[in-house]
Symmetry: C2
Subunit: 355 residues, 2 copies
């Protein structure tokens, strides 16, 4: 049976799958909620969005997504507080960035109203799917791909925007050991590295696998020209603490403008932590590690929030990071998740209630 | 009704669509033949391939192709000669390159037998779909994408290999005008530029559109670091003739090892044309254009075969190429297509009969 909320037609699932899910033992991004949002672009315009039972999508084998990688996505999380209210974190940042990514990949920009109304309507409906066990949340994945078909290497004439939801546990278990990569690269100058475009991720799998075979969990990407500067940590932004100064690389056309990254910068500044946004040399990390001034490294991103690094490899050497009692990573993670879960004041106005 | 040819199960279409197709007026890659080949990777192995009616594929919305751009493809053409025999051109080169691309994108390599037997069995069945009007051919598109689902940024556990066929006219009509790109880039050092990976193409659409808005048809990609060297022409390799010497950029991890590219090099050498495989500076093109020694530029690739360039733009200037009576582009195109259509001897052993 179909109903309508605002501009969105809703077809509800006949029987919820929720009782079959073990909410105390959730993987990351493998269990999906009952409903999804779908919106089609055709005839030169985004059409009316619909919410329907989560289920398969049927595509022509010549749909351009299969051939030319024309896709963009966002990653978000919904949290539930002690009173059972549902919250998002800075969703308008994701909305803006989705269109920035789309522009670079020649995907038609999605009207803000479709994104925001679709997101909030879907999350109101899926509120029971937001887990409450510590460290867990409802991972929300908006994405757009080229559904129009044709074997000519040119933009498609049809696209599909989806939002799917996955109740999820933590992305990484514990600290990660990373390898500074000097052969493979993530992004070119003038390329698509700043966009959350599908192709940016597929290209990382092989070098990451090579690093994993050597005992590391993630790769630290360096610039493709000199490999002298660190840029990102796997699919996260990278932070480094030398003495008491927190540093991160500036965003560029090679580096994603992460929502967690900029939130961490703002929180750190509010905490009185000296923050430097500047290019960070690999040599600087190594000498700081040797002289004891390298205190911390961590990745920052929506999926992992803040992921502390236990050590890094460079060429044939391994460098360990100290165990700190009062780490910036722990402090910043507590501050940001307390805002996300509505456990603390939100001086920045980042929390966004959805139900 | 199902039959079996070799290792391949064949389910034939009930009624062919072929009579509905206007073979005298074919677009490129928009009309598809009756059948396609499908082969699944699951449980750690490529399964038995099947030929079935061309039709939609059903996927979970969390299939990794939609999120992480994990896909590779090949482009090939089948030709029919005056006696009605069907031919491919160097198909084993495509088979090898597909696996080279797959390895970089963390897609499991496809056994050669599945590729070659699948290809030849499908083309025998689709032989009537090979057009015979001049300049036309059956465009053959083998491709693999990640069908396994999950919102974790890591390789999928399931993949699909398809071969689809599209009777096609020429890719470009006439000569093309190109713009030397100095802001956007196609590939990074240590990136995936040498792979026929989907994401390489999506990233080209926007800069190409900007060039088209200025009156050019394609972009000449330069290296992402200095923009001083030309690398590729749109989705083709690039050739330049200065005086009587034919030049092309060496392949690298940024440049595709094109089958047409290496065939052109071999034919040119056999014709006694001096060939230089070396990096080509933008400045060299401009000064050669000014002093009259720049005779020709052309793109080379399977879809367009050889695509002559009428002129190029650089910054705010345009440079015209002369009209030559005996161009290398025309000679080389005739030599290569005469081999492809079985109109001439094949001293290189490139032709491959399929039916």
């Amino acid at each position: 049976m179909e109903t309508k909320t605002g501009n969105i037609i809703i077809e509800k699932i006949k029987e919820s799958k929720i009782t079959k899910v073990d909410f105390s033992n959730l993987p990351f991004g493998k269990v999906y909620s009952d409903h999804m949002l779908v919106c089609d672009y055709k005839d030169g315009a985004w059409q009316a969005p619909r919410i329907m039972p989560y289920g398969p999508v049927s595509l022509d084998p010549s749909a351009k997504i299969f051939h030319y990688g024309q896709s963009v996505f966002e990653g978000m999380k919904a949290y539930k507080d002690a009173e059972g209210r549902a919250w998002l974190f800075r969703p308008e940042e994701n909305q803006k960035r989705l269109n920035i990514s789309s522009k670079r990949i020649s995907i038609p920009e999605l009207p803000k109203e479709i994104f925001m109304e679709g997101l909030t309507t879907l999350l109101k409906l899926e509120k029971d799917w937001i887990p409450t066990t510590p460290g867990s949340s409802l991972y929300v994945r908006p994405f757009i791909f080229a559904s129009g078909s044709g074997l000519h290497a040119s933009p498609a004439d049809q696209y599909k925007f989806f939002i799917v939801c996955a109740p999820s546990g933590p992305y990484f278990a514990g600290k990660i050991k990373v390898l500074i990569e000097e052969k493979y690269s993530r992004a070119a100058n003038g390329g698509v590295g700043y966009a959350k475009a599908g192709g940016n991720y597929a290209g990382q799998f092989y070098p990451t696998q090579l690093a994993q075979d050597k005992g590391y969990q993630q790769v630290i990407w360096t610039d493709d020209n000199t490999h002298e500067y660190i840029e990102e940590a796997g699919a996260m932004n990278i932070f480094v603490r030398i003495n008491d100064t927190l540093m991160t690389s500036p965003v560029s056309d090679r580096i994603l403008d992460g929502v967690t990254r900029k939130s961490v910068i703002d929180i750190a500044k509010a905490e009185g932590i000296p923050v430097e946004i500047r290019k960070i040399r690999v040599e600087e990390l190594i000498s700081a590690s040797k002289n004891g001034s390298l205190k911390e490294m961590f990745g920052a991103g929506t999926a992992a929030v803040i992921s502390p690094v236990s050590g890094f490899g460079h060429r044939e050497s391994d460098y360990s990071l100290p165990e700190l009692e009062n780490s910036y990573a722990a402090l910043l993670k507590k501050r940001i998740t307390d805002i996300q879960y509505n456990k603390a004041e939100d001086p920045f106005g980042w929390r966004f209630q959805v139900g």
